[in-house]
């Protein structure tokens, strides 16, 4: 019955999937199936081309420091295509390391500086001998929604002027433990430190991103009503 299809790219999915990030695609697919939309997945890894016109959703997950450095070396080749995708309002979810690597640079625990793709303006500092670990709750003030998750990060991220946080921290640490913000929103790009994985626990956000992807790929269909009929999971 699937008349519609969404193509998702899992960036470095074979190297950067350390915290169940794949669950985000599972969630998207679960909701999409309910309205007759197929969701496929392709891993784009070291040395692969990223074609910005093919994909409807990009997931860039978190990884270990070592894998993250290998990925950072490969990213400059893909940076122009990723920038094109983002600037043409492609839906994008960056989690933890994937969130950091979209920005200017980040510092590893030992102080090593690793450059991101530089498409977005945020940057990430380290915090020696400390990690932000635990359950986190934030409030998305634009959509008046609460999101639940689990954060586990050493990096402290600071957003640029053209970015806004995904939510305000209600409980937990968020981007840097200082400014009360968690995650980022820029065009249709979402960044977060939630390992949760964020879309499995926060169905409203999953449905919002699903709608963005469908409206961008199939602008002639009225997706609003179809999506409103889905019951989102939230816990």
């Amino acid at each position: 019955m699937a008349d519609y299809k969404l193509h998702t790219a899992h960036l470095y999915g074979d190297l950067m999937n350390t915290y169940g990030d794949f669950g985000n695609i599972v969630a998207l697919r679960y909701y999409a199936h309910q309205i007759g939309v197929e969701v496929d997945e392709k891993i784009i890894s070291l040395g692969d081309d990223f074609d910005p016109t093919i994909y409807d959703f990009v997931l860039f997950g978190g990884g270990q420091d070592y894998e993250q450095m290998i990925v950072a070396d490969d990213l400059p080749d893909k940076a122009p295509a990723l920038k094109q995708y983002i600037e043409t309002d492609g839906p994008f979810l960056g989690v933890c390391g994937g969130f950091q690597l979209l920005g200017q640079y980040f510092l590893l625990a030992d102080g090593t500086r690793v450059n991101g793709i530089g498409t977005l303006s945020h940057y990430t500092l380290n915090q020696p001998d400390n990690r932000f670990i635990g359950n986190i709750t934030i409030h998305d003030e634009v959509n008046d929604l609460e999101y639940h998750g689990f954060e586990n990060h050493q990096g402290r991220t600071f957003l640029g002027d053209d970015e806004r946080p995904l939510g305000k921290v209600v409980k937990g640490n968020g981007n840097n433990g200082e400014d009360g913000g968690e995650g980022l929103v820029y065009r249709n790009v979402y960044g977060t430190y939630f390992h949760g994985p964020i879309l499995t626990r926060n169905g409203n956000l999953a449905l919002h991103i699903l709608q963005l992807a469908l409206e961008r790929r199939y602008p002639d269909v009225d997706w609003q009503d179809k999506i409103a009929a889905i019951t989102p999971e939230f816990f």
Partner: protein
Amino acid sequence: MSLKSGLATLVGKGTYAVLHDVLHRGGTSLPGKLATKIDPNVMQSYAEKYDVILITGTNGKTLTTTLTTRVLREKYADVITNPSGSNMMQGITGTMLTSKVTDKQRRPVALLEVDEANVEAVAKQLKPKAFVLTNIFRDQMDRYGEIYTTYEKILKGIRLFPEATVIANADSPIFMRGNLPNPKVYYGFNHVPATGDMKAPHNTDGVLSPTDHSILHYHFMTFGNQGDYFSVTDDFKRPALDYAVTKLNKLTPISSNFDIDGKTFQIEIGGMYNIYNALAAYAVGRFMGVSADQIQQAFSSNAQIFGRQEAVKVDDKEVTIVLIKNPVGANQVIDMMKTDDQPFSMIALLNANYADGIDTSWIWDADFESLHDTGIQAVATGGERYKDLYVRLKMANFGDHPVYQDLKQIVPAIKTLPTKRVYILATYTAMLQLRAELKQQGYIHTGMGE
């Protein structure tokens, strides 16, 4: 032994005697604590007396230790070993202090399961003859960080003793890192021809070549990132094996029959991961001069193996309780359920206390989807984090299903399931709670390994 060590030993032994004989508690941690307080180097006197073998890794060290103990006892009268919960410095000190040697002719063996982060401290004191490395999978990342960090901690201990033999799982590529000068014994699988060319599934950790960081290929894989790996960009590949599983004969959820170097062995426990544990025990046994015949004998002795799984009868139901704690382990349990030729039900229980791991996101890397092709008839979820698992199974297309937040509901729920076979997957504290319920209702009589 110095006067201080002598006193420390005396206090340690005395405390153990009081705990053990008067209070009937098997505790090894308190005596270790007291003795260490008096003399932090109290264990060093044991290094001279024992052949010390340390077993470490994130998964499988308890069962490997159990099986290896059994193997070594075929040859050695005195094999002392620590209870699985006592794998940190204090527990090990307690084990050493309370050990007794009966055979004065042959050097006794201390076979110790050691927590990854305690390898350096324990090795420093006990000067091991060998280090046994089982595997390193992503586990409780909130504790130690990353698999490479965990391995670094182990390496720190090994580097102190370049003469010690490293007995390592060669199927796990991470153990090829570190350029260790030590003598090595490698074990692994050679059960299928090395003709394939594949990459690991996408939720696999540790698939980068240590030489040039390219993604490893495999001739075949067993599970996780383990298998016969090779690089396509240079000549890095799995080293030659000293001991290998050469054939898998019959695998069921409760037994495994397989060949090592052409000879058939059987262990009364299911799961591929337990064959790795048996293979490690075999490698250590051969290293210590135990013959293949004696090892075969040791494996087939009737004593029940308490691994991560336990069989319990609940009225007419055959219940198997299995501990789960990370995606690689959970996927192995899922694979084990697939070897059942009877219809079965599954109850999955998730807690998120410190001992369980407080981050539950790994459940999304466990391949519950693959259970659709099996004899599975019913599913249920429970535990303090029942909602996480409920949604996990729902998104794996198992639909709406019963949830039991309170584990007191589990025993009655088992009785209503449609199948005779029941698998209960539980994280550590959920398993303890469930066992307490089963004990109270008279379905089990002893603790695990008590």
